[in-house]
Symmetry: C2
Subunit: 428 residues, 2 copies
């Protein structure tokens, strides 16, 4: 028998999926028990050239026809975006067709609805490609840890952000300069906001939180900060304190609450995550019994993401073959949860004040911090040569709310030239 | 319904399994569809105290009775060693009982036979706990990569060895001193040979090679070197060249052959594996489409290994519940393979000659290397103060056979005081 796959979207990832399914056809048939073939493909522009491996497979611009086609057994959605992907995925589930998707934006916004429909209908939805490209993080959280309780996840989930910070740090370059180069190299979109402002990482963090904690989190409620405020001096200063700036996405169990945060943070130089550079992604899982476990690899691109999508295709096809569908969806819960107030988080903070280089200013800054209960561990001043100075501070453990209150006061002072930069230190 | 588990061995890992199965009982029942309970336990010494969670579960010193007991559905083997574990596992398979094992020595020696019987009988054998403790490396290779071709695996697979090298390197301590301390801390056995001479890592490499390449390798045929020849000066010298010494286990596809090697090697300081320190384990998988992917975590201990064993228990119980057994074993092949001659490997080499501190000696060493076709990239001499000197060399890419031939000549020279140390550089 043959299991027939309908592919929605045939860009970089879709093309990679077609290639791998062809190249490994025998291996896959041996594993599944049936042949697995892409028999229909939906694209936006039917005139565009496709991968040669597609051969004479029927191409259409109407994905809804593929979902409705009774000759199609499995839907692979790699078109991205919420619309029309959401309607297509829900229609496939209603028709009892298993769905493989790499669409983190869709799952972050509509995962709870999609998973609920899938559970009700005993239909499998698999999504290893949605987070971390080829890193088997969904499998690790879904299949490897049912006997343990996850305490915390710390991810470097956006390759573009990691690339930008790595180059700024290693070559002492400015943010805009590196982003422009990343755009030329194809590592950043024309509008880089989804990546460098943290939204893409927040989507992935929401998906991982469903897997690790069984909780639903609206993506807009994640405390999300971007990278635009960083300058080369921040990387040099972090280095002087013994840290590296990394674009982190963190989800943590605190009592009955969940704390979620995306943004740049200082991690110790000798931590494993500090060595995850360039476009690489990584996820640290901390389990109660497991301890810390780090998975790292390429987070995007044709090859890695296609490997993940194909592994999911195999899983859902094997379930079809043995007529036991719905088990993959049954493992995913999305219960409501209470999010922790980000101000309650306690950590050492990195602060950089840009102030007039005048007597008395340092005293005022440190006094304001002290009044707010923020105690200083290290401090140095860098003269800028234009009668201004960077005052760089590393605090002891401080409540984020206290730090923010102190900065609000200091940022209103006449001696303050630019808004103060702040980043937490994250121990990993 | 209840799926009844018989536990063979109730030491550190077995106790952890009992605890986790109790603590996560509800979660597990939801995932499996049946309750999962340990109902019989075999131990060597029935008088020894066990984990409290065992309650009034029946304990016996006759594991063969548990395997034969028709009331037992699943066998978990965490006793270790080849005998009597092999006979028990084969008997369980013959009785169509799925087996979960964490026994790398057994699988390295008798994996091909065990997997063959399991395939013939459509019985599941799962072994996530056998390699890398809690790191989901078996799952990654078995389930996440069927669409890709693995090119190379580079592992830090023995926590004791990694701990010993890390402390030697960071604290400039000698091998014997660190091993003695590791024994006190419980990180090393009274007889540390299995760990520090590379045999344990070779066992695990053989298991990973079955998963990654579908090949059977007799563990004795792995080119295995231990750590005993290393001194603090080797770590300092590696550091001076920009490297860190790590205990690596490497399996690589070279044409139609497989190259396997266990032993200390120099890895670049900025590589991810260089940051894997202390008792941590890690595996780098290089897939053709996937690119490099690193998984790291605690490689041993009650918690991590028990998490892996429990994840396997869930898999095989779920397969029992849906009456589709044998799929996990079906995915593992152990075909014969041709091993590559280790002498054919090409890499830069680290060499340390201990020689008389006399004029002309350096010339003779470098001449011998040159004659053998080994070209030098960097070299420095360290006077020892007793009329001897360390001559430390980093070569350009050289065939291992050529290096060995040159060392055989040099080690016979009257100016040579100690056998020359050599390690390859491994790019990861």
């Amino acid at each position: 028998m043959t299991i027939r796959v309908g592919l929605l979207g045939c860009g970089t990832v879709g093309g990679g999926v077609v290639k791998l399914l062809r190249a490994q056809a025998k291996e896959i048939e041996a594993r599944v028990g049936d042949r697995v073939e892409v028999t229909r493909v939906a694209v936006r522009d039917a005139t565009k050239a496709r991968v040669a491996e597609l051969g004479d497979v029927a191409v259409t611009t109407r994905p809804e026809d593929i979902v409705a086609d009774p000759a199609i057994d499995v839907i692979v959605e790699v078109m991205g975006g919420v619309s029309p992907a959401k309607a297509l995925v829900l229609d496939a589930i209603a028709r009892k067709k298993p769905v493989v998707t790499a669409n983190k934006m869709l799952l972050a916004h509509d995962g709870p609805e999609i998973f609920a429909r899938a559970r009700e209908g005993s239909v499998d939805v698999a999504f290893e490609g949605a987070v971390g490209g080829g890193i088997p993080i969904v499998r690790a959280l879904r299949d490897a840890l049912p006997g343990d309780r996850v305490k915390r996840i710390v991810g470097i989930l956006n390759g573009t952000s990691n690339y930008v910070l790595t180059r700024m740090q290693r070559e002492h370059l400015g943010f805009a300069e590196v982003v422009a180069e990343a755009q030329k190299l194809g590592y950043a979109e024309a509008d880089p906001s989804l990546d460098v402002d943290g939204h893409d990482a927040a989507h992935k963090l929401v998906v991982l939180s469903a897997l690790a904690f069984g909780k639903r989190v609206p993506p807009d409620s994640v405390d999300t900060r971007g990278l635009r405020f960083l300058e080369p001096v921040d990387h040099a200063s972090a280095d002087r304190f013994g840290y590296v700036v990394k674009p982190l996405a963190i989800a943590e169990r605190v009592g009955d609450e969940l704390a979620l945060r995306v943004g740049p943070a200082l991690v110790p130089k000798d931590a494993l995550l500090a060595s995850v550079s360039g476009v690489l992604n990584a996820v640290l899982i901390e389990g109660e019994a497991l301890g810390p476990c780090v998975l790292s690899g390429r987070g995007a691109g044709e090859g890695p993401t296609a490997v993940s999508v194909v592994s999911d295709v195999l899983d859902v096809c094997r379930a079809l073959h043995v007529k036991k569908t719905g088990l993959f969806s049954a493992a995913i819960r999305t219960e409501p949860c209470t999010l922790r107030d980000p101000g309650e988080a306690t950590a050492p903070h990195y602060l950089r004040f840009v102030v007039k280089d005048e007597p008395g200013v340092l005293g005022k800054v440190t006094t304001s911090l002290g009044k707010a209960g923020v105690s200083i561990r290290e401090l140095f001043q860098l003269r800028r040569g234009d009668a201004s100075a960077d005052v760089v501070v590393l605090t002891h453990d401080s409540r984020t709310a206290h730090v923010i209150a102190a900065l609000e006061e200091i940022d209103r002072e006449p001696f303050t030239i630019e808004l103060t930069r702040r980043m937490p230190v994250t121990l990993v």
